[in-house]
């Protein structure tokens, strides 16, 4: 690390060559010249879309188990988007029991994933801790509470998925097995008991000394007529988009950029995604969902949120951690509500007869919108698969946010401070990049 200044000209290059343990690999390159951020490149070298090619030729009922392997933290989301697309293609309605239980399963994933991100990844940043282990020394009760919530989420996934990691219980048409009344009763009681933990978590995140930033961004999420969006709805945005999920390719387009093998997804509000032109960065994820759907929250959850004094919609991106806590509280309410009415069905799945066709599935993964599109032949074999994950949708906005936030933070600060703040900004989005909690190996050159 060198630091040279010559007169008014100060050039600083922060080069992070390897972001380890992300969904794919990534890096961050910053160049600051005379107080201006001239380069800000978040490079994620996600592997090519091998999963999409791997799916081609496979039978439809293999798809949920294959796509679950795309992510170890949010496999349910991949399964949910896939089964919805498959059922649309084959004209299947799995009925209210399956729909309710899919929602319970998704609640488990939101609880597990959000609790993990809040406590193990994001919160240490706000207590000047390098890891959750250091945080545990300062906030042991809060970390214990977070682990309890995470385990509750894992157990909900296990209830319907058979196991918490890459669950295997989901099939087109429903589930391979229905839980027993006894299994459900045990979890139902735990869910009701956990409400106090979740409310305390919301209050705790609201009490954190979060950085204050205010920037304009476009939130994109599903919106349902009468429920907080999880696995169904239309696609809406804070600048007035309101389309069915089938029209997604007209308004959003993934594109390659030179500095990254990952695809960048951009929004074209005029519906011109098929043509050339500059699209816009946009936000998906819990903050986008809350910004667009607070009115779909039950009154009990809204009351807790209002009591904490943070108003949604908000332009402070760092309120994402509060959004995750609010969604944990919601997911516990929702899973408890759905399981209170639980009954064992005659069949846990409806029969599925394949036919030639195509189907779309868009659900709300913990990190945001997850869009799938499949084409099948008459025997139900995949002819084509397209999967657009949340991380690629947020990538452009992360770069835009870094430019704004670092400028507000002060580009004249030391490289270590800038690196640490940049990490915090990136982690706040909960991309899989944030899973690498100490990913910035710095090489700073100043001339």
């Amino acid at each position: 690390m060198t630091d040279n200044q010559r007169g008014e000209h100060r050039e600083m290059v922060i080069n992070v060559p390897v972001l380890a343990r992300v969904e794919g690999e990534g890096a961050l390159d910053l160049r600051i010249v005379s107080g201006e951020l001239t380069e800000c490149l978040l490079r994620i070298y996600e592997p090519p879309r091998l999963f999409e090619r791997l799916l081609v030729g496979r039978e439809f009922n293999e798809v949920p188990d294959v796509v679950a392997r795309i992510c170890g933290i949010c496999p349910v989301a991949y399964q949910m988007s896939a089964v919805h697309a498959i059922e649309q293609a084959f004209g299947i309605d799995p009925g209210p029991w399956v729909r309710a239980m899919r929602r319970v399963l998704y609640c488990g994933e939101w609880i597990e994933s959000h609790a993990l991100h809040i406590h193990l990844l994001a919160a240490p940043d706000f207590f000047a801790c390098g890891s959750v282990i250091e945080l545990a020394a300062k906030q042991p009760d809060e970390v214990r509470r977070g682990l309890r919530l995470q385990e509750l989420g894992n157990d909900l996934i296990r209830l319907l998925g058979g196991r918490a990691v890459h669950p295997v219980g989901v099939c087109p048409g429903g589930f391979y097995r229905a839980p027993t009344i006894g299994e459900v009763d045990t979890l139902r009681k735990r869910l009701h008991d956990a409400l106090a933990d979740a409310e305390a978590l919301v209050e705790w995140t609201c009490s954190l000394e979060l950085p204050v930033t205010s920037q304009s961004f476009n939130s994109v999420a599903l919106r349902h007529s009468d429920e907080y969006p999880m696995n169904q709805g239309r696609l809406v945005s804070s600048i007035g988009l309101d389309i069915s999920i089938e029209n997604y390719p007209e308004y959003f387009r993934e594109e390659h950029l030179g500095h990254s093998t990952a695809l960048y997804s951009r929004h074209y509000p005029d519906g011109a995604a098929a043509r050339d032109g500059d699209g816009q960065a946009y936000l998906v994820g819990p903050l986008a969902r809350l910004n667009l759907n607070l009115d779909r929250m039950p009154a009990a959850v809204r009351a807790v949120t209002e009591r904490c004094g943070i108003q949604f919609p908000t332009n402070n991106m760092f309120h994402s951690i509060v959004g995750r806590a609010v969604e944990i509280l919601y997911a516990i309410h929702e899973a408890a509500r759905l399981l209170d009415d639980y009954r064992v069905p005659v069949h846990p799945a409806v029969p599925v007869v394949p036919r030639a066709g195509e189907g779309y599935g868009a659900t709300e993964a913990p990190r945001g919108l997850l869009w799938h599109h499949y084409e099948f032949d008459a025997a139900g074999h995949v002819r084509q698969a397209v999967i657009v994950p949340p991380t690629s949708q947020n990538q452009a906005l992360i770069e835009q946010d870094l430019r704004t936030s670092l400028a507000e933070f002060g580009l004249d600060r030391q490289a270590d401070e800038l690196r640490q703040f940049a990490e915090t900004v990136i982690r706040n989005y909960d991309p899989c990049i944030s899973c690498a909690t100490h990913f910035l190996r710095l090489k700073v050159r100043r001339e």
């Binding site: 992300v22 992510c71 170890g72 282990i133 545990a136 899989c432 909690t437």
Partner: protein, 178 residues
């Protein structure tokens, strides 16, 4: 007393599950009394493993290991001192070492905790019956139900960065990405 076999369905990482399943069927033959030893599988580090450890006074964790020792070596690590644990690992790679360090910081670990495992060679190959049996025997020894297993390594060699390499589980939480 609790035995926790950590693993996944994949390759050598099955080792912990195989040992747990084998022991579950052999408790009578090994002379264990019902209720004396609880045998569980664990599929994920972090919160799930800490929850399983919380209720026991003594625990033995069985896992496939990657410590830099000779492939195939039987390893035993008694957790007595903190340190040597690389912090800041990602959640995807929240491994055994980090989990135990977190449990220690929260004061939720059993007073006595031991890790038994076999050093992985080919991580994609399932463990052999002989390896599972050797580890089962070592576990019986550990719990005082059998003879000590010769050749057990109690102190793995330091890792490439000179740390007293604790242990890195093999493929603890596979995340395949598109």
């Amino acid at each position: 007393m609790k035995v926790i076999g950590v693993g996944s369905p994949h390759g050598f990482d099955r080792l912990g599950w195989e040992v747990a399943d084998t022991l579950r069927n052999r408790t009578t033959a090994a002379g264990w009394r019902p209720g004396e030893v609880s045998i569980e599988r664990c599929e994920r580090f972090g919160a799930p493993l800490l929850a399983q450890l919380r209720t026991s006074k003594r625990a033995v964790i069985v896992d496939a290991l990657k410590t830099g020792a000779r492939p195939g070596a039987l390893l035993r690590i008694a957790l007595t001192e903190p340190g040597g644990v690389p912090c800041g690992l990602s959640s995807h790679g929240l491994g055994l070492a980090t989990t135990l360090e977190l449990g220690r910081a929260l004061g939720t670990l059993p007073p006595v905790i031991t890790v038994l495992g076999i050093e992985a060679d080919d991580e994609t190959a399932a463990p052999t019956a002989d390896q599972v049996n050797r580890l089962c025997q070592a576990l019986c020894d550990e719990l005082g139900y059998g003879q000590h297993q010769p050749g057990m390594v109690s102190c793995p060699e330091p890792d490439s960065e000179g740390r007293p390499s604790l242990y890195h589980s093999v493929a603890c939480d596979r995340n395949d990405h598109r």
